[in-house]
């Protein structure tokens, strides 16, 4: 496994730069599994996955020279960023070392990699995915999720967090966003052709009036339920937004 460490001395020379260290791994397909507390993921045109740390604390502990940080699971910090990156063939697994202290990591991911983010503890922050045209899978308990200029396919699930998604003009089938307590706020291009399934048990569904949802009928009758099942602009990709207590907001752009 290639491992290129930018020397701390250089980092100290370029002091004032917040992105102190980076870790690269060459991968342009397969899955990237991020099991960390928070993350900001960007897409880029290269063929390497690049990890940066946004932590201000970029000074290296001189006392720890020659030692490596480890945690109770036996994972070592092989990146210098507080995370362990392991190449398991088709899958790159990323774990943070500390249980309650999530490092602020930014990742640049090539186009062909499926990005997966999982986190179950409450010690974390928002997971952001920006300008990322990849397939994205997210499963969190407490983390809120923000997606900007994404295309899908998306499978997103959160128990207590909320989901805010702003799609770019092309959207890929399928899009499935599920939340138990949090809200789901989605912005779609007005001309999107989609089969919509919007359901909330105890919340409300708000839709931009410019969207004419053609509600599904069976023998000329509509089902009276908590689920809106219909198409916009004739139908096409499957968009499934499912809340239990939360509300659904469907905006146009």
């Amino acid at each position: 496994m290639k491992k290129r460490n930018i020397i701390v001395a250089l980092a100290l020379v370029f002091s004032g730069v917040t992105q102190a260290q980076e870790f690269k791994i060459a991968k342009s397909s397969g899955r990237l599994e991020l099991n960390i507390g928070r993350v900001t993921v960007h897409g880029h045109e290269g063929n390497e996955i690049i990890f940066f740390s946004n932590n201000r604390k970029s000074e290296k502990d001189e006392r720890a020279e020659g030692l490596t940080a480890v945690n109770s699971l036996g994972l070592v910090d092989n990146t210098g960023l507080g995370i362990n990156v392991a190449d398991k063939g088709n899958v790159i697994e990323v774990y943070q070392l500390k249980k309650t202290n999530a490092p602020d990591i930014k990742v640049l991911v090539p186009r062909g990699v499926i990005v997966s983010f999982r986190h179950e503890s409450e010690h974390g922050g928002t997971a952001r995915f920006i300008k990322l045209p990849n397939e994205i899978e997210v499963s969190t308990q407490y983390n809120s999720i923000e997606l900007e200029e994404v295309t899908g396919p998306l499978t997103i699930e959160t128990t207590y967090g909320s989901v805010t998604a702003d799609f770019s003009s092309t959207i890929k089938d399928p899009v499935s966003i599920v939340s138990v307590y949090g809200f789901i706020d989605v912005t779609l291009p007005q001309a999107t052709k989609a089969n919509l399934k919007l359901s909330t048990s105890y919340g409300d569904i708000f839709v931009a009036p410019e969207f004419n949802i053609a509600v599904a009928t069976k023998d000329g009758m509509r089902v009276y339920s908590d689920k809106i099942s219909g198409t916009i602009n004739g139908g096409g990709i499957n968009i499934d937004l499912n809340c239990n207590y939360g509300k659904i907001y469907l905006r146009k752009k």
């Binding site: 899978e137 699930e157 128990t159 890929k172 399928p174 499935s176 138990v180 499934d240 499912n242 239990n244």
Partner: protein
């Protein structure tokens, strides 16, 4: 005189048919002309032979055979005569009836042929559709098995949503997905598809079993809501167990509680 005239006169003379004048003339000629007398002798001989030969009669056998054949013919024609209606009207009616009957039979035969051909064509189409369905099923099962991408698995489940009925293999695949897929969204999609086929007893049984096994909160909630909608009273015990389980989140417990209320 010429020979022909002499001949004919001589024949008449031999037959004694000449009148007295001609008779006399001929006799004179015969005395005078040796050739004429020679001719007279020849002719007389010839006529005698002709008169003496007996008339040709058919043999007795021939007559008997001929009579027999004739009688048979008459008898045969007499027999065919029995289906020959005397009044002309009946004859015409019979002919018309026969025509109509043969027309009807011909029409019926051709109709039968048409039906056979159409049946064969439909069977061929069914065979093609069956094969296409089998291919789609294979593709769908392949997508469901994609370990890399949850979106592919969801797409596989969405294919089933397009079917009007699901066979046991598909139901088993969906139940397996519902119970053991690592991704919540995929499980929910499988549940959505199973809801479509909820009338299938295999599906009902599978859903009841799934409720006892599920630990995924969103799936538990949706499953409880489905059981309530299906009025499945058998799950009340499972709902109580869910409520008593410390590891279920509050939202699920609330849903189980309301489910028990609705089902009791």
């Amino acid at each position: 005189m010429e020979k022909e005239k002499l001949e004919s006169l001589l024949i008449d003379y031999i037959d004694n048919r000449l009148n007295a004048v001609d008779k006399h003339m001929i006799e004179q000629e015969l005395v005078r002309n040796a050739d004429a007398y020679k001719l007279y002798e020849e002719l007389k001989e010839l006529i005698q032979v002709i008169e003496q030969s007996s008339p040709m009669e058919p043999s007795q056998d021939l007559k008997i055979n001929f009579d027999k054949i004739l009688n048979e013919e008459i008898a045969g024609s007499e027999r065919s005569r029995t289906i020959f209606f005397r009044p002309a009207f009946y004859r015409v009616a019979a002919a018309v009836a026969l025509m109509i009957l043969s027309g009807a039979i011909g029409f019926w035969i051709s109709n039968n042929n048409e039906q056979q051909k159409r049946l064969a064509a439909i069977e061929r189409e069914m065979e093609i559709t069956r094969k296409q369905l089998a291919d789609t099923k294979q593709v769908m099962l392949g997508m469901l098995g994609d370990e890399q991408s949850a979106s592919q698995r969801i797409k596989g489940v969405n294919v089933v949503l397009g079917f009007s009925q699901a066979d046991d293999e598909i139901v088993a695949a969906l139940l397996n997905t519902l119970n053991s897929d690592p991704n919540t969204n995929v499980r929910l999609a499988a549940l959505d598809a199973l809801e479509k086929f909820q009338l299938d007893p295999l599906v009902r049984k599978g859903l009841i079993e799934a409720l006892a096994k599920q630990r995924d909160p969103m799936v538990q909630i949706t499953l409880i809501q489905l059981m309530v909608q299906m009025k499945e009273k058998e799950v009340v015990r499972d709902l109580q167990r869910i409520m008593d389980d410390a590891s279920t989140i509050q939202a699920v417990k609330d849903e189980a509680y309301s489910g028990i209320l609705k089902l009791s």
